[in-house]
Symmetry: none
Subunit: 199 residues, 4 copies
DNA sequence: CGATAAACGAGACGGTACGTCTGGTCTTGTG
DNA sequence: CACAAGACCAGACGTACCGTCTCGTTTATCG
């Protein structure tokens, strides 16, 4: 009868973002150290309300992060495919270098312990981004800037895998230089037909 | 002066492996759900003893796993570089498909919350494997099967990143087919000089 | 405008009796463990409806119990006073030995925490019974079987106090033998004139 | 190895007494409204410590009250039995009129919901007092001031039952006048041989 | 006979306490 | 003096009820 309070929902999500350090000033907490009690306290909401609507802490974090904060790094349609790809990779790398990256990393970490968390992350976040990149590569093939006989999915993997590796293993910084390398690498083999002709 | 009890150390490490399901029969626990208390109980050792010698649960796991269980998938010296690389990737992928992969994934997950854990993992485990692959690629360049103008480090990234992505994101199975794809992909651009000549 | 729903009232009272184990089969609950929520659930009634008409759980229990279940153990008018007293005490003791006794005990218990509950119990239940006994004793005095110089109120206390003590302290069973003892005791001093003459 | 901390035990018991209003200034709480959390908070003790050593709130209250606060209203040996009885009843009634009475009443109330609480009360508190009174009555019989053919246990009941009734039902005040009445009543029948001779 | 106003079911909500659990520290013997 | 045994404080867990508060939705008079 009485429908869900949007105010409470927002309070929970905002409190979660605040505690994670996404918004506000403080340094923020781990997802792991983030507690439901703290969210409830910060949000001025009852614990029961959180448990009523979310089944796990990770679900709250995911909703807070993905649906309310994360900008779906878009792919530009107005650029040639190669340029759009380069632009997209730069944008992703730049974002992942900051707080957003830390939270994505922690969601993946949570997913190692809870398959449903990983599923949610993959379906609600990762899949969409990847498909946008695959579509972009296919556009590149139509445009003739990417070899038509290369598998777009594999190229997408070549683009994304190093980003996630660096995000998670932190073996080197996520910076613009790295973004350039990635695109170059991914297209070195399957890549730019014209430049290959120049070889 | 009573020096550190090697018996206690072994008891702790063995208990850890048992509880993680690495040895013994049971299904094993998460690293996350693994508790110091349970280790102490299983090992017949006092909690204080564990805290005295290890600073975190992850450190115990790492020591138990890396120094006592993990086989350092070696690189074969008796094969041509390309074959050795292919062999190595197959071996890694096969191992990561099992329990070993789950624990590596969980150590990386823990590392997202604790930099020292990640450092330990990178220095004690990952770095060595990667350097072996880099060396292998350099051997391939000397042997002439890999283009000399390619950066061995980048190729190593092209090899490993997709493996870790699949290990952590579980978007597709870690199997022999995948191992083949990786090698092919990684060498597509920077790869086999001979095949490029055929273009 | 719309008057109180008798159907809801009955549903609440019946649900209360059922949950207390007074009616139905099950073992029943404590008054303490009985919850408004459970009553509402069982009765198919909104919590608000209960709170609208009753101020406390104890009030619901009292109404359910007293006005709908409790038989007002009556005093027989057709017997000589002494026989009627004996009959009454036996009846009370017998009833208190069962479920009725447990609930009376629990209402008194609730009354220790809430004066209004105790008031309600005293006014709505206890007072009436006690006055009936006092009247009976006065009849005995008129009939000459009880000494006229004894205070009827004190004798009533001598009759009832041991019953309530046993009900609440459970130091010995509430049985027929006990009922006999009580009457004998209460009348030993102030009691049967004839027997005293025999002294 | 490590034995129970007496400091923690005392802290818990003292906090309990303070919260119940037995010591300190405030108005105090019900036993019912007294919470384990509040005790732990007040005592500066972990909840787990309380649950480790006591199985229920009532047990804590009992131990706090009986073993540390309640003075075991003693029976004077230097007076003739009848005078000692009168003295004892006055003392008990006086104590029960205050905070001590409220807590005894609440322990009995708790006992209506939990047999172990009642057992503990009966064995640890009530039994001892009653036996002292029975012994006193027997002394009176030896001294010749109480009829030898009366059952001391029944007389003890006649003495105590009205006190507990008034304590629990609060139908009339627990005062000195009442104490006098009780003794007179109890001894009216089985009582003072000399006065009976005067009849 | 249709408007209106209370009573009602449903149940969301902020709270509070429950009893359990684990983490990490500290204490007290034992070998 | 390293160790086991384990008591301890701290505080989060997820659950259960509390009593309050909208919400529509009956339902019974009254204009």
């Amino acid at each position: 009868m009485v429908e869900r309070s949007e105010a409470s929902r927002r309070a929970v999500l905002n409190a979660t973002l605040k505690l994670l350090g996404v918004t506000g000033s403080g340094p923020g907490t781990n997802v792991q150290k983030l507690t439901i009690e703290a969210i409830a306290r910060e949000a001025g909401v009852s614990k029961a309300t959180i448990y009523r609507w979310w089944t796990s802490k990770a679900e709250v974090v995911f909703e807070a992060f993905v649906s309310d904060y994360l900008s779906h790094t878009s792919v530009r349609e107005d650029l040639p495919a190669l340029d759009a790809l380069r632009d997209h990779v730069h944008a992703v790398v730049e974002r992942y270098a900051g707080q957003e990256g830390r939270i994505v990393a922690q969601m993946i970490a949570e997913g190692q312990y809870d398959q449903t968390v990983l599923d949610q992350f993959m379906n609600g976040f990762w899949r969409g981004r990847r498909e946008a990149v695959v579509a972009l590569i296919e556009r590149g093939q139509v445009e003739g800037s990417i070899r038509a006989d290369a598998d777009p999915a594999l190229i997408a993997t070549l683009v994304y895998a190093p980003i996630y590796q660096r995000l998670l293993l932190r073996d080197a910084p996520l910076d613009a230089e790295f973004a350039d390398e990635i695109v170059t690498l991914a297209l070195a083999g399957a890549g730019e037909v014209t430049s290959r002709h120049a070889l």
